[in-house]
């Protein structure tokens, strides 16, 4: 089971790199959807004695992060007939190099931190790397839709860290967190849709009317 968990975590990281390196918007959304699906499987693998808690969490995560939200975002792209390229502020190669740097930093921090219990260091490394990559996407991609993707990556990273203390954070709270993410992305998606209608672009860099 340990090997399987490591494999899933590595895949989560690889799909993170895919988001950094791809030129197409839909690929980004699909990649973050796959990440969500992998995250949904993780509690089942890490806690083999399946309880209602782990099953509910897995089902909820897969439903929200791998199915509903990506479908909604892809719908937003299709409806708003936006240009399908990523158009980054920082180039793809530079983004990937920054991503590798993020993983290195996350690994260094994770080995220094007193990681509790039986959980592998890889879990914390993946979590922190995902958080940094998410922030990186938020900072370096101007398109509003990609900022939503960055936010989802950030949330995915935090979710992975949450798995280290799965027994300690109660089910109700996890469902609350999932619901908040769901509603948050939903509202963001609606705003993205309106931004496109008003500005003929999903480019948040054009949002510059308000300044001092």
């Amino acid at each position: 089971m340990e090997r399987l968990a490591d494999l899933l975590l590595l895949l989560v990281l690889l799909f993170g790199f895919l988001i950094l390196g791809t030129t197409r918007l839909t690929t980004c959304i699909r990649a973050v959807a796959v990440q969500g699906g992998l995250l949904g499987l993780l509690p089942l693998v890490l806690h083999p004695q399946w309880s209602v808690h782990t099953l509910g969490l897995a089902a909820g995560t897969i439903l929200v992060k791998a199915i509903v939200l990506p479908a909604f975002l892809i719908w937003a792209i299709r409806e708003s007939a936006v240009r399908r390229e990523v158009e980054p502020r920082v180039g793809y190669v530079a983004s990937l190099v920054l991503g590798i740097f993020a993983v290195a930093v996350a690994g260094a921090v994770a080995t220094r931190l007193p990681v509790p219990g039986e959980h592998p260091v890889l879990l914390v490394t993946t979590s922190l790397a995902c958080v940094i990559m998410g922030l990186q996407v938020l900072a370096t991609r101007a398109k509003a839709l990609l900022q939503v993707v960055g936010y989802l990556m950030l949330e995915n990273g935090i979710y992975v860290f949450g798995l280290t203390s799965l027994d300690r954070v109660p089910f109700l709270v996890e469902i609350g967190v999932l619901l908040d993410v769901f509603v948050g992305v939903f509202i963001m998606g609606i705003v993205v849709f309106h931004i496109n209608r008003e500005f003929d672009s999903l480019d948040s860099a054009r949002l510059t009317e308000l300044r001092d």
């Binding site: 936010y151 949330e155 280290t164 203390s165 967190v177 908040d180 948050g184 509202i187 705003v191 931004i195």
Partner: protein, 476 residues
């Protein structure tokens, strides 16, 4: 059960008010009144904790809950007049009531992850209200608000998980429950606790609008309807401050007082400095109020960071801030409703608010003195307490810097507002009567602001003192 009712009543009100057109305001006011009455009973009969200690009410929670409830009631009465003049969306009252439900959850949560859920809920509930006008500028504002607040609050979630890691796997301790965190604070792992504090401070600090995490604030307050701005500047900030206060409480109990105080003081002074820099020469009154809000949240964390009697000043300032910000935003809102938005955006074409809306103009003038900390308004007392704490704590340079920055802000706010108030009455726009609904709320808040400055009622004073003691401070 009473505690659950405080969340369920506004939630049910939100469901009932949806799509009721102009009758939304009836739902809004009656739900707010019930909520206020329920909160009032809590002052006499302290309720028992429910849900295994997840929901409980301590002095600080009661302060925040009361502040939010009173402010919300005032805003709800104002909304009656507002809805008659402006077209509002189907969900206007529902989103406001959802905010009340979530803010109550935040005030009563003694489980820090549940606190987070409520905090994110307050953020999301207000987003559609910022987007009320559905034009480019409000679109830009709501986008900045959503992205920055969401990222901030995501970092706070990571901090919450760090805190649960710091707690370890002790079977006798309830995870993330505030009482257990405090009583078993000595067992917390210091490295994780420090990491948790940093992430929670930055996360909830973004929501609070501390400089340099404040960049969403001027845009959002500038574009949101005035009553929403008032609710954000008075209510949302109180909730966010509570989040920071909770983790500070835990860190102080764990003996990390020396670690947590410097960042709080630095954030506080930086916020004051940024506010002073942007208040001077500001041409939009709502953006001016936003920078004034940056100033006041800076004072909140400054008092918390100074410790001692400064914490009391900080909690008192929380109350004053809610009252005065509500007053100012609603009075400015009246000027906008009657004279049109031109008054608030450029003083050259504007001015004459006192002639156009005499009652609201006077209220605005009083609010101007209240917000800059002039006696006899309450803010004078709380600001004075915080500055005195800096002086007494052996930090004369902090006291001096604070006073200097407050003076600059006084001049900046005064110059702009007086330019807006005086002058000939504007010719453009239809002249309209100020309805009683629109002036009653702010007028009541003026009375509150003066009362807090002359004599704080003794039950409130005792409550504030107990809240300050729990946060590691002391009463004067």
């Amino acid at each position: 059960m009473l505690l659950l009712a405080l969340i369920l009543v506004p939630a049910l009100g939100a469901a009932g008010a949806y799509g009721r057109g102009t009758r939304q305001s009836g739902w809004l006011v009656s739900t707010a009144a019930i909520h206020l009455m329920l909160v009032a009973t809590l002052w006499w009969a302290p309720p028992a904790a429910v849900l295994d200690g997840w929901l409980a009410l301590d002095p600080l929670g009661l302060v925040v809950l009361s502040v939010v409830s009173v402010l919300f009631f005032v805003v709800a009465t104002y909304a009656v007049g507002y809805v008659r003049r402006e077209r509002v969306g189907r969900g206007f009252a529902s989103w406001l009531l959802a905010f009340l439900a979530m803010a109550s959850l935040v005030a009563m949560s003694h489980h820090l992850a549940l606190l987070w859920v409520g905090m994110e809920g307050t953020t999301l509930a207000l987003a559609p209200l910022i987007f009320q006008r559905r034009d480019r500028r409000s679109l830009e504002a709501v986008w900045k608000y959503l992205v920055l607040s969401s990222v901030g609050i995501a970092l706070a979630l990571l901090g919450t998980f760090f805190l649960s890691t710091a707690q370890g796997d002790d079977p006798g301790v309830r995870p993330l429950v505030l009482e257990d965190l405090i009583t078993h604070a000595a067992l917390l792992h210091p490295v994780w606790l420090k990491a948790a504090f940093v992430f929670l401070l930055v996360g909830y600090g973004t929501k609070l609008g501390l400089a340099p995490l404040h960049t969403w604030k001027p845009d959002t307050y500038g574009e949101a309807p005035a009553l929403v701005g008032g609710l954000m500047a008075g209510g949302l900030t109180s909730c966010a401050f509570l989040g920071i206060a909770r983790v500070t409480e835990v860190a102080v109990a764990a003996g990390l007082g020396q670690f947590v105080q410097p960042p709080l003081v630095i954030f506080g002074l930086l916020s004051l400095a940024v506010a002073a820099a942007f208040v001077v020469g500001q041409t939009d009154v709502k953006r001016l109020l936003a920078y004034s809000s940056v100033e006041h949240v800076g004072l909140l964390v400054l008092g918390l960071g100074l410790g001692g009697v400064g914490v009391y000043g900080s909690v008192l300032h929380l109350v004053n801030n809610a009252v005065v910000k509500g007053l100012l935003f609603l009075a400015v809102g009246n000027a906008v409703l009657v004279v049109g938005p031109a008054t608030t955006t450029s003083p050259s074409s504007g001015g004459g608010v006192l002639r156009a809306v005499p009652v609201s103009g006077v209220l605005l003038l009083l609010g101007l003195f209240a917000v800059t900390g002039s006696p006899p308004f309450g803010m004078f007392l709380s600001e004075f307490t915080i500055v005195r704490a800096a002086w007494a704590g052996g930090h004369p340079w902090i006291a001096g810097t604070t006073l200097a920055l407050l003076a600059v802000i006084f001049i900046g706010v005064g110059a702009m507002m007086l330019g807006m108030l005086y002058g000939p009455a504007p010719v453009s726009g239809p002249r309209a009567r100020e309805s009683a609904w629109l002036v009653a709320g702010p007028a009541a808040l003026v009375v509150g602001a003066v009362a807090l400055g002359i004599a704080i009622p003794s039950p409130l004073q005792q409550l504030l003192a107990r809240a300050a003691t729990a946060l590691g401070g002391s009463a004067p």
